[in-house]
């Protein structure tokens, strides 16, 4: 078995909103290996996005351990985390989140500005990434001049331009029509199969999850065992049968 790029041990996250305490993640143990394409499924509030944010070091756990790519994220300073994220993580949002005043090429170049690459190299890398997602002819287009599917492809190019070890996608097809969603998922599959990228896809769409090699379900902050389905899914399937 290949090395574990994500390893959690009794990972917990509790949110406090006013006087209410919500256990978003409850002692989650998970191992994700290099080259995996994992789909994290679950209903809203099940904790799948929270787990993704903890893996990307965008949030801090309340309890437990998390090791991503060999780094104990709880021991890194904010500055070190920012640098680490730039180097190792590619993040794809549901709502694309491109910078509206920058062209497609400039949006993709953005993460490379934090590297030591010169402008010429940065633009060359960004152009390659955009060609890879099939947008070689849209380099100078602003986000508002692109369709939703094209915007998401620019976002994918931005996520892969630094050649990260881990690509995290948070409901990347949530805002797309069926055809564009299919394109995006095919692209992620290609990144996983052809380029060996480890991908964690958060989705509540069973069709999207089918593109992944492994599917894990979260329910009320707890990760269900491999192959297990949430209670309401099991009963729905039983009724259908």
């Amino acid at each position: 078995m290949s090395e574990a790029v994500v390893k959690t041990n009794r990972l917990s996250k509790e949110f406090v909103r006013d006087e209410f305490h919500v256990m978003a993640l409850d002692e989650v143990d998970v191992e994700i290996h290099r080259g995996d394409f994992l789909a994290l499924m679950g209903p809203s509030g099940s904790g799948k996005s929270t787990l993704l944010h903890l893996i990307a070091a965008m949030d801090k756990p309340t309890d437990g351990q998390i090791e991503v790519l060999g780094a104990n994220l709880r021991q890194l300073s904010d500055k070190q985390i920012a640098h680490w994220r730039n180097e190792h993580i590619g993040f794809i949002f549901q709502s694309f989140n491109l910078i509206p005043v920058l062209t497609a090429l400039e949006n993709v170049e953005l993460p490379l500005k934090l590297t030591k690459l010169g402008k010429k190299d940065r633009l060359a890398h960004a152009e390659t990434a955009l060609k890879l997602v099939g947008l070689g002819d849209r380099l100078d287009h602003l986000p508002k001049q692109l369709s939703g599917g094209q915007e998401q492809r620019v976002a994918i190019a931005r996520a892969i331009v630094t050649d990260p070890d881990l690509i995290l996608a948070d409901e990347p097809t949530g805002n797309l029509d069926a055809a564009s969603a299919e394109d995006v998922l095919t692209m992620l599959t290609r990144l996983n199969r052809e380029f060996g990228k480890t991908i964690i896809l958060v989705t509540h769409d069973p069709h999207a999850a089918k593109f992944a090699t492994t599917v894990r379900h979260l329910e009320k902050g707890q990760l269900l065992p491999v192959g297990a389905l949430p209670a309401d899914w099991s009963s729905a399937i039983a009724v259908r049968n």
Partner: protein, 387 residues
Amino acid sequence: MFRYFSLAFKNSLRNRRRSILTISSIAVSLCLLGVLIAMYHALFFSQETPGQALRLVVRHKVSLAQPLPVAYEDKVRRLPGVREISVWNWFGGTYKDNRDTKNFFARMGVEPKPFLRIRTQMEMPEDQRRAFITDRTGCVVSRDLAEKLNFHLGDRITLQGDIYPVNLDLKVVGIFYDPDALDTLFFNYDYLRDALPLGRRNFISVLAVLADSPDDVPRIAQAVDAMTRESSYPTKTESEQQFALSFVSFIGNIKLFLLSICAAVTFTILLVSGNTMAMSVRERIKEVGVLKTLGFNNDTILGIIIGEAITIALIGGIIGLLLASFLTIGVGKAAAAFMPQLNGLSITPITIVIALGVAILIGIVSSFVPAWNAARTNILDSLRYTG
């Protein structure tokens, strides 16, 4: 930090209308600031001309309105270091219609011979110099005044007295250029003196003194004032530049006045651009979250946002200084008649440095708090921000 300049620049022009309005308000304010700084610099820090460096003015210690005895002329002449001395009498009076500001110019009674030696930088043809010395009713006018009022050699000018109860009928015998005497008419003091009642003939306004060298100037000033200290007519002797500045002080504490306006202008722009930056940053909190997700740290984000504000302020500052460079020409021409220091007023390199420094400061101060808050906002809170 320069690799983020394009991002900062594009962000600064994101909302075109708001950016243009902010840039315009900064430009107008910095134009005003530029003119005021140029005036302040010209009034209080300008270099003396070579002629001014050698000249002193002796006046009554109490005020210019108090006369000095004409006998002081001989006493001062005997002091070591004094090369030349001349009576210098402010006539006042009216030329044509006093309500027309064009007709306001300085009218001075002088002793032509010593006066021409004292005005070391005066440019005037030799025959006109001779005519001024020999023609008792002759007067000489500065070139700019001649152009303004269309004076030509041989023209007759009538000045109606107010301080002095006499009218002077003068003839233009010379047109000169002197960087230290613009919008000015000089006439023969003897002509005025002879027209005065006997009791007033022994008194004059001030004495103009030419020193042998710049080093003699403070020594002469001390000697003259020491000599007259115990008399009924104590004097105040100062360099010509200081004397000219004392006219400015008639308006009030001009230094405080200029500095107060500068401070008020700066504070106002600070509020305007602070408000703009707060709005601009608030609209982009979510993007700050995106940048952080890409790996930008707090310091870099802080720098980018402050860079945006500096970009806007600098664009405004540069436009403002361009406007100011035109405005100073007009202000200098209009004010030179009563403030000769403002003649040739222009935006100097030091004014540019100060004004652009203020622009940068405005950019930093106005954006620091919103930038700091945005940079410190938790990454997930930023991404969830909906405005």
